[in-house]
């Protein structure tokens, strides 16, 4: 068999799957987005831009997604980096595996169940009532952006911890000795060596979390209580409740476009930090 034929065979299963399950549906969505809604919902073929011109009516969903997804990603990173750093650089060798397993333990339960736990914790009988008991007022937590961010960080933290951990773990510790030998105090060798060398992991983790967050709908639905909704929630509403498929398709296409633009910009930005040629990141 020729090399080309063999390569084609290797790519065939995944290629066929992606064509059938990703490309074709995307084409369908794109076509739908230019059509119009039938009297009883669904799709009537046509070609017009009214769905796109109507996007402004869902502006709030886009705004929430585009502020809370980056914010959630950033907070995930801020919480995950020190943890990953501890696991990679400081944790005793024999505890390492156990600690890493503990990071993914939450994944053993459904995100739905865990989010319900947060509904209780953030709800009237949870943290607010405890704060009230010690005289710190009775703040409203559930159904706020704060609750959504809490849920996001809680749910997505492991996805950030692992890529950052791997890049720190792979960092040649002799580089830190070299920096120290050349006169860099510990914090400066962190900023000048550790941080730039861990950028591929940071970029990978951020992309993973951010892309998934852009399509998130469960956490805002449960912890945002219909007040803090994402584009994902708008899509659920348009496709399942209002049965306005063409408008839903236009919203979906716009979301994909925005996501691609942001990811492309982010990749350009992080490439500047790219370490050595040996560093392979997921993105």
């Amino acid at each position: 068999m020729r090399q080309g034929t063999r390569n084609a065979l290797l790519l065939l299963p995944a290629g066929a799957w992606l064509l059938a399950m990703l490309v074709l549906p995307l084409v369908v969505v794109l076509v739908f987005s230019f059509g119009s809604r039938g009297a009883a919902g669904g799709y009537v073929p046509g070609f017009g831009l009214e769905n796109y011109l109507n996007l402004g009516s869902r502006w709030q969903a886009f705004q929430n997604t585009m502020t809370l997804a980056p914010l959630g990603t950033l907070i995930c990173l801020i919480v995950a980096y020190p943890l990953a750093y501890y696991l990679a650089m400081r944790a005793p060798r024999r505890w390492k595996t156990l600690l890493l397993v503990l990071v993914i333990v939450p994944f053993w339960t459904s995100i739905l169940i865990r989010s319900y736990a947060w509904i209780y914790l953030l709800g009237g009988q949870g943290i607010p009532s405890w704060l009230h008991a010690v005289g710190l007022g009775n703040p409203r937590l559930i159904n706020t952006p704060f609750a959504v961010v809490i849920g996001i960080v809680y749910g997505y933290l492991p996805l950030m911890v692992f890529p950052v951990y791997v890049s720190l773990e792979r960092l040649d510790k002799r580089l830190l000795e070299a920096a120290s030998d050349l006169g860099a105090p510990p914090w400066r060798s962190f900023l000048q060596i550790t941080l730039p060398m861990s950028m591929p992991g940071v970029a990978t983790g951020s992309m993973l979390v951010f892309i998934l967050l852009m399509g998130e709908f469960l956490i805002p639905a449960l912890l945002g209580g219909g007040k803090v909704f994402f584009v994902g929630n708008a899509l659920v509403d348009l496709f399942l409740q209002s049965r306005n498929w063409p408008f839903g398709a236009a919203v979906a296409v716009s979301l994909v476009a925005v996501m691609l633009a942001i990811v492309a910009a982010y990749m350009r930005f992080t490439r500047r930090f790219a370490g050595s040629r040996d560093d392979v990141s997921l993105i």
């Binding site: 000795e177 070299a178 120290s180 030998d181 050349l182 006169g183 860099a184 105090p185 050595s276």
Partner: protein, 365 residues
Amino acid sequence: MKHMQRPMNSDSETPIAELRGTSKHYGAVVAAQELDLSIRRGEFLSFLGPSGCGKTTALRMLAGFETPTSGEVLLDGQRVNHLPPHQRPVNMVFQHYALFPHMTVAENIAYGLRQRRPQPDKAGIAEAVERMLETVRLPGFGNRRIWEMSGGQQQRVALARAIVNQPKLLLLDEPMAALDKKLRRDMQIELQSLQRQLGITFVLVTHDQEEALSMSDRICIMQGGRIVQVGTPRELYDRPLNRYVADFVGKSNFFSGIVQDGALVVEGLRVAAAPGAGGTGATASLRPEQIALSRAPVEGMVNLPVRIEARIFLGEHTEYLVRHDRLGGFLILVPRQAEAAEGGFEPGAEAHANWRAEAALILAE
């Protein structure tokens, strides 16, 4: 190539660095035991020994990566036991260079200068880097990436990155280990001339005796966490303190026996002159080049009939592995002229090995 200023401040009498009864324990493991050593200003000193002998621990205590469990480390007369590496006027060339892969060659070399406070101005740093690139014969390589450099070039960058800081001590941790043999030889010569030119004290760690012998002013031989002997290469070669040193520095043949009537007797044969009390055990060390091969016994020498087992042509010398009935096998190194005069010996041939009884060195047991 330009000369750099010699680092001079304190009087030249104080050793540049000292270990005083310095030990390092890791739990129950003793990595270094009561090391006593003073390193002279401007010398090229090597720690030589097999892996696990404590030479790297000694180096790392000088660099500040390890804190001694007991004893003292002094730099230029100052006790520095607990001074962290970034505060020591000492730089290291790491075994696998540990160059920063996310920086260019020039940024790597500039790293140490950029850590100084107050920071030197950009032009000054750039100039120093250029000068260093010339010193290590890599002019114009400043903008290269580390991965674009060959192993030998990376080593020069590592060297430049360390010496640009004009350290009081330059520590080299097996710097040639990753180079092929030819390149290693070139680099050894270059390092030596660089050391003379810069006047910086070099401390090298190596397990390669040839490397230590050819480059060092003095060698510190280590075994099992202890210093066994310190001396010039010639002293160690000619007057090794014990069998370990004799074996490690150059090749040698060893004959163990009992001292009787001023001679060392092995298996009933008098092999060497050995003054001292009779009846005690002793070992004679005979360098292969101290033994000659002849067809007939030679008057006034120790003569042993031997059979040639193997012959290895080494260019200037020929090495013979010979066997004696009772003493077993040993090595003889015959210079080219001697072999031309006596004629070569084929494996399997009978011959006489002979040496002066006084040439053998009697070692302490």
